[in-house]
């Protein structure tokens, strides 16, 4: 049995934040779950995927976040408790659905999880999604700890049903990817089937209906604000005259700082866990009791600006500080020492930070950026495109996935990137606005997510470009989730359809379509040359299974290679490919047989044909 289905209330378990949220949803009787995977939310959906295989929980990997919100919204319209989860930028994709879903509302509880990523550990921006709550008018909840992340989910579902609208649950990476002890609660039975009652004058927002629904949304907002005033997730601690207003993971840094600075008697902490709509009276009462307030919140000054507004309305003039050159920044994530230092500075405490070791004599260390895996087929495709385009003045728009790592030398194959699916749009702009050959790259999952409209656009507007679809048979970057092109039979899963990328591309009317096998270097280069020479839209589909995924499927492994005596140390392999299986020993390139996957890319480009398969069964370097 999946550990998150353990029906022993009171038992303590060490869980990852994402597991705790999944457990919270199971306890709340969630019956319908959907996602497009994105770090730091991915393990949450992985757990639902696993649980759905052994229970009547419905789970799907949707093609993108907007679709995941739409399917979950319809389930909730039938009275079924549903949850859609995504990373912060995923909510941008789902925003169109979200904004009007706020008007249309739900019947069964619906929770939309947005996992924000301050410091951008694995994201292209660090937008603060609390503003989506304000923009949509929907309630938002934010836990501070792993155990609270479990508990708050049931509260979110109840709140959603009370208000008949979806609730946004916002986490940050340090909640999703933290672990802590969690006390299991009762599991409420799942209701997997509901019923839909036709009610077009409330559910079909044509203008006359929408005008009425916006009134309802504002009424709901007022109701929600009263619930926020009473919420157990908005907490006041202490009775001191120094106020600290905080949220999310920052609350922990505040608690530790207050303990270490020994100022618990002087401080009042207001922790906001119900962050939209904010409890105005509660904040005003808090401000009234303080002579000075410091706001500790990662990201934008969301609480700070609200607190200043509420202070003005209450005629209060106390200093409220937060984001400032000498205090907190909107950049990156906070940490305990930073919060300790700023609390001390804000309230005039003398405080000396513990002496960190002196690093002035430490030599510059070589960087260790994440890189494409040994034997990754993207490396082969990149090499081949580079070769095929030799002599051409090129621009390489890229997209979001493992292959974005191709931006690093020696491959250096990414010139421009905005968001999921952007490569198929930006490539057209470059092709019109500059006189260079434009070749863009997109992965299989990203193509389905939001790459298709850009390609349709390119065909319709007759752009001159080459799009390379890197089809490695799985959504690799986020941990091998299925996508519509994946052969689900390989995963021993039944009941799925399968969409052929090639059929989609041809159906769009792309005039020049080629499928290549990137481990066949010469053939691939020839095919790419032809596609690149084509005037108009050409598409290359480069098909090869992700090596990590192939390993997880226990597919037969290829023999590793070694560098033989014929090597004349040209170093083309290292200089053009830099596969992580290479290492340098006494000035010569060697191949680590434990890392080599036998893709034979280097063997095919070696000018001396010096790289050969390891003959005997025993692996050696």
């Amino acid at each position: 049995m999946h550990k998150l289905l353990t029906n022993q209330p009171g038992e303590r378990m060490l869980l990852l934040g994402n597991e705790a949220i999944a457990r919270g949803a199971i306890e709340a009787g969630v019956a319908f779950t959907s996602t497009y995977p994105g770090t730091p939310s991915s393990e949450l959906s992985l757990n639902f995927f696993q649980i759905s295989k052994e229970s009547d929980l419905y789970f799907e990997y949707s093609t993108n976040e907007k679709v995941s919100v739409e399917v979950a919204a319809a389930a909730a319209a039938c009275g079924v408790r549903s949850m859609a989860m995504m990373k912060h930028v995923g909510l941008n994709v789902a925003a169109d659905a979200l904004m009007t879903l706020a008007y249309v509302g739900v019947k069964g509880g619906m929770v939309i999880l947005t996992a924000d990523d301050p410091a951008m550990f694995s994201s292209q921006n660090e937008q603060d999604n609390r503003y989506y709550a304000k923009l949509s008018g929907l309630p938002m909840l934010e836990p501070s700890t792993v155990d609270e992340a479990r508990a708050i989910v049931a509260y979110a579902f109840d709140l959603s049903e009370k208000l008949q609208e979806p609730v946004l649950l916002r986490t940050t990476t340090r909640i999703n990817h933290s672990s802590g002890a969690v006390t299991l609660g009762d599991i409420r039975p799942r209701r997997t089937k509901g019923s839909f009652t036709k009610d077009p004058l409330n559910l079909v927002p044509v203008p006359v209906v929408a005008r009425k629904l916006h009134v309802k949304l504002l009424q709901n907002l007022a109701k929600a604000r009263e619930l926020s005033e009473q919420s157990p997730y908005n907490i006041v601690e202490g009775r001191g005259r120094w106020g600290i207003l905080c949220n999310g993971v920052s609350y922990n840094y505040v608690k530790d700082a207050v303990a270490e600075l020994k100022i618990a008697d002087q401080v009042t902490i207001l922790r906001i866990g119900f962050s939209h709509p904010l409890p105005v009276r509660m904040i005003q009462n808090f401000l009234k009791g303080c002579e000075k307030v410091l706001v500790v919140e990662e990201g934008e000054p969301y609480l700070e600006e609200s607190a200043k507004t509420y202070a003005q309305e209450a005629g209060l003039t106390l200093p409220i500080r937060g984001k400032a050159p000498d205090l907190f920044s909107q950049l990156y994530e906070y940490d305990p020492a930073m919060v300790r230092k700023h609390i001390a500075a804000c309230f005039g405490l003398s405080y000396t930070a513990p002496a960190q070791v002196d690093l002035s004599d430490v030599p510059p260390l070589p960087q260790r950026p994440p890189t494409l895996c040994a034997g990754c087929s993207h490396r082969a495709t990149y090499y081949e495109v580079r070769k095929a385009a030799e002599g051409l003045d090129t621009v390489f728009p890229s997209d979001i996935g493992c292959y974005t790592l191709g931006l690093l030398p020696p491959l250096s194959m990414a010139d421009y990137l905005l968001c999921m699916g952007s490569s198929t749009g930006t490539v057209g702009g470059f092709s019109k606005a500059c006189d260079r050959k434009v070749i863009s790259f997109i992965g299989d999952s990203t193509f389905f997510h939001s790459g298709i409209p850009g390609l349709v656009n390119a065909v319709f507007n007759n752009h001159d470009l080459t799009l390379v679809i890197l089809d490695n048979g799985i959504t690799a970057m986020t941990g091998h989730q299925p996508n519509p092109a994946v052969d689900m039979a390989q995963l021993k899963l039944e009941g799925y359809g399968r969409v052929s990328i090639e059929a989609v591309v041809r159906a769009i009317g792309v005039p020049h379509v080629t499928v290549i096998k990137p481990y066949k270097v010469k053939k691939s280069i020839d095919a790419i040359k032809e596609a690149v020479a084509f005037k108009g839209v050409s598409v290359i589909i480069s098909q090869e299974l992700c090596v990590l995924y192939a390993n997880s499927l226990k597919l037969p492994r290829r023999k590793p290679f070694h560098v033989s005596d014929k090597c004349r140390n040209h170093r083309d392999c290292m200089d053009h490919l830099a596969c992580p299986a290479f290492y340098v020993w006494e000035g010569r390139i060697k191949i680590d047989a434990n890392l080599c996957t036998g893709c034979a890319l280097c063997a095919q480009i070696c000018p001396e044909n010096a790289i050969l398969p390891v003959k005997d069964a025993a692996k050696k370097g």
């Binding site: 792993v146 305990p336 494409l372 992580p580 340098v584």
Partner: protein, 197 residues
């Protein structure tokens, strides 16, 4: 309860996530409050994986520069890179087997000298335990048990409020049965290595 903070750094694939999971389970068994956080989005792509483990009453799930009681590095250059987490009272444990970053191989950086690296860490911190954990893991029967060797060394220092029994009991629950004997052997070799260093 006194708070003890452990920073673990490794290269993706070295098994530090399992090491943290064993320590988390050990804390649960010992009744020690524990929080940890990990950045592992790129773990399988050869990047650096850093874990923060906090034992005791503190609530924060991360560790600031200068706040670590113990720094444990699975790879020597990564240990040095994370040295800013330490103060003069910190204990540092490091594997001495280098994993060459590809940037060095393509001439974009120089790997630090291992002798100087140890001198530097020793001079700046309270105690350095440095040995080739990869060799010991191989001797224990599985080169992938570097994490268990290092857990042995960590337990020997006595800095964390966990006994060897807690950690071994957690290993029984968290590591695969087929590897348990080898892992326990690796753990004991780590204990011995720390005693002798």
């Amino acid at each position: 309860m006194d708070t003890k903070r452990l920073v673990m750094v490794a290269v993706g694939g070295q098994g530090n996530l399992l090491a943290s999971s064993v320590l988390g389970e050990a804390a649960l068994l010992a009744g020690v409050p524990m929080r940890m956080s990990e950045i592992h989005g790129m773990a399988q792509r050869g990047g650096v994986v850093e874990s923060a483990l906090i034992f005791g009453d503190a609530q924060s799930p991360i560790i600031s520069d200068g706040d670590a009681d113990v720094l444990m590095g699975f790879e020597p250059a990564e240990t040095l890179r994370a040295l800013g987490k330490c103060n003069a009272r910190s204990v540092v444990i490091t594997n001495l087997a280098p994993l060459m970053p590809f940037t060095v191989n393509i001439g974009m950086g120089v790997y630090p000298d291992l002798k100087k690296l140890q001198e530097m860490i020793r001079a700046k911190t309270a105690r350095l335990i440095a040995f080739n954990a990869t060799t010991l893991a191989r001797e224990a029967g599985n080169v992938l048990s570097v994490n268990m060797v290092l857990l042995g060394a960590l337990t020997q220092t006595g800095v964390l409020p966990l006994t060897a029994e807690h950690v071994k009991a957690a290993m029984r629950r968290k590591t695969k049965a087929a590897f348990l004997d080898g892992n326990l052997k690796a753990f004991e070799m780590g204990v011995a290595a720390a005693q002798n260093s």
